[in-house]
């Protein structure tokens, strides 16, 4: 029993270690030294850490606003239309059920 527990505990330790290594970006860190070399070679020409006001950014570096605006309005319309459609569909189903039940109740009513 203790051997089984130790094996299971061992698997948990290994799994948690792998998850921790993955989230800490060890693969990225492993690649970083290689990436730093070309960056160090470029340092005399540009400093990537320097603050640049957004209005001074070049056009291709700025985030376009129009797609975000269009996406927002399309999403609102889509959500409302889908919701109205779901209500309509549920209402039609319930109305159909009511008609069937009403006819059944009407048929089973005692005849005098």
């Amino acid at each position: 029993m203790s051997r089984v527990l130790m094996t299971r505990a061992g698997w948990w330790i290994v799994a948690l270690s792998l998850i921790g290594a993955g989230s800490s970006g060890l693969p990225a860190q492993a690649l970083a030294p290689a990436a730093q070399a070309p960056a160090a070679q470029k340092a005399p020409q540009e400093s990537p850490g320097e603050f640049v006001p957004i209005k001074s950014l070049q056009q291709q570096d700025q985030l376009p606003a129009a797609p975000l605006l269009v996406a927002a309005y399309v999403f609102v319309w889509a959500v409302l239309l889908v919701y109205v459609w779901t209500i309509w569909r549920r209402l039609m189903k319930v109305e159909r059920e009511i008609r069937q039940l009403a006819s059944r109740v009407g048929d089973s009513a005692p005849r005098r």
Partner: protein, 219 residues
Amino acid sequence: MNRVYSMLVLAAIALFAVAPVIVAGTPVEATMGLVQKIFYYHVPSAMVMFLAAFVCGVASAIYLFRGTPGADRLAVAAAELTVVFGLIVLVTGPLWARKAWGVWWQWDARLTSTLLMWMIYVACLLVRRFGGPGAEKLSAAMALFGMANVPFVYISVNIWRTVHPTTAVIPKLPGGMRGPFWFCVLSFMLLFGLLLALRARLEERRADVEHLYLIADHD
């Protein structure tokens, strides 16, 4: 009644269809630019979400303390609409934030409290759907808790230091923005009223089905 309802539906559709045209004519905000126009749908959706949560809470309280079935039907309808309009707020907000703040999301007081409130109402609907007998009362109690959140969500931007704009923005809107904004608010409020009536009608018809089943079984 049907004629009035049909006219209101047409009015709501017309208002909602005209709103983007009106928004297109509004002035472009100086710092945020074009993306600021999401404001004309984002803020009215938030206002409707708060109203729906309030209606749900009041109806739930009436159902809990008086047992009125009509109040329960209204509470379900309002809870669903809180989720729908809350979803609109939680999606349009990040779309705006991505451009304005540079990030999709911030765990600040307003955004976090809005998300939590939305999750409470999702939980209300899940409890009703899967909770079994007596789930209506449990859901009503949760809705009361959700309604209590509304004032906290609203004033969170004034109390804590957040990246979200404060409530002082709306009263200080320039003239060119004020009219279209309140037009959108009116459109959303009318749409909310109609959707609430429609959804409550669905619950009413479901209650009629149950009543007919009882009669059919009795026979």
